[in-house]
């Protein structure tokens, strides 16, 4: 199996007793860099593996992940180019994506 696999890392971190959040692309509109189902796994120590975009929104997702890590409440984020009301970070490709964040455990 691919060693860059985010779900493998998520399990590894979990078994090390660390808090882990998994972010998943659950919906895309227009041209989106990563297909629905793509994962980004985020560890409490700041390490992350995988991707949910071409690198444009990962920073914002990782920031949000720390909140999900604390609360344990899943959360859905939306990123788009023209969407001023949602998030400051946009996708340069002009697409829109919805990302689901959940804590492991």
């Amino acid at each position: 199996m691919d060693m860059l696999d985010p779900l493998i890392y998520a399990e590894k971190w979990m078994l090390e007793g660390k808090e882990v959040v998994i972010a998943t692309v659950i919906k895309t509109w227009g041209s989106a860099p990563r297909p629905v189902g793509s994962h980004l796994a985020i560890c409490e120590d700041g390490t992350f593996e995988g991707s949910v975009s071409g690198g444009c929104v990962e920073g914002a997702v990782i920031e949000e992940a720390s909140e999900v890590m604390k609360s344990g409440q899943p959360k859905t984020l939306e990123f788009g180019v023209a969407d001023e009301t949602a998030w400051r970070v946009g996708l340069s490709c002009g697409g829109r994506i919805e990302i689901y964040l959940e804590r492991v455990g």
């Binding site: 779900l7 659950i26 919906k27 297909p35 492991v104």
Partner: protein
């Protein structure tokens, strides 16, 4: 995500078993559905899970005002090539560009050399021996290009039994007619034999080994992306 679900999901993926994670987006509850057990999920959601497992496409599914995310995990395509020939050398390079894993098997040690196939998953073994330890599955494409029935035939039969998503065999129409006779004699059913792509590759008039490799890869992609008949 439930920790046990994550563990089980990785076990299934490592074993190249198709499965889906279904998340209730209202409360975050999740469950793992293995392909073999997918009929256990009732109603429209069950149908949606089965469609996702067939197509490999993940999506949000709405039923009775509830939203579920179905994440289909289907194994990555693997190409098994019987024959360390000139076409295979080109196919290796194309597979790398497309991002598919590829294995080359040829018992003829003059063909299966590391010089001819640098950095390739290459095995100088008889297909029946190799496949015993590396079984085929529905997410594998079988490409038989040795031209030698002694080497190709068993691999083709194994591929049909395993329901490989693509089964192609090199050879002219005449060569294929003889192959069909042999496979029938070996007890392979007519519909199964029909699944063999021969002459191999999309009909683009390919002539050189590199061109034939392109035609084969295009046919494999077609089998993968249009396997639902769409």
């Amino acid at each position: 995500m439930d920790p046990n679900l994550l563990k089980q999901l990785n076990v299934e993926r490592a074993a190249r078993q198709a499965c889906a994670v279904v998340i209730d987006l209202a409360d975050g509850r999740d469950r793992l559905v293995k392909k073999a057990d997918s009929s256990a999920v009732q109603g429209p959601l069950g149908v949606a899970v089965q469609v996702a497992l067939r197509s490999g496409k993940s999506s949000i599914f709405e039923t009775e005002g509830r939203y579920f995310f179905i994440n289909a995990h289907v194994p990555a395509l693997r190409i098994v090539v019987i024959g360390a020939v000139h076409i295979s050398q080109a196919l290796v390079q194309i597979a790398r560009a497309v991002g598919y894993s590829i294995e080359i098997i040829d018992p003829r040690t003059a063909f299966a050399t590391a010089e001819r196939f640098p950095d390739v998953d290459l095995h100088a073994e008889w297909p029946e021996d190799y496949l015993k330890n590396h079984p085929l599955d529905a997410y594998t494409a079988m490409v038989a290009v040795t031209h030698d029935p002694k080497i190709d035939d068993t691999a083709l039969i194994e591929a049909l039994i395993a329901n490989c998503l693509y089964v192609g065999a090199l050879g002219s129409r005449k060569t294929h007619e003889k192959r069909v006779e042999r496979l029938i004699a070996a007890g392979v059913s007519a519909p199964a034999i029909e699944r063999i792509a021969s002459p191999i590759g999309l009909d683009i008039g390919a002539a050189s080994p590199g061109e034939i490799a392109v035609a084969i890869m295009a046919q494999i992609i077609e089998a993968l992306r249009r396997h639902d008949g769409a």
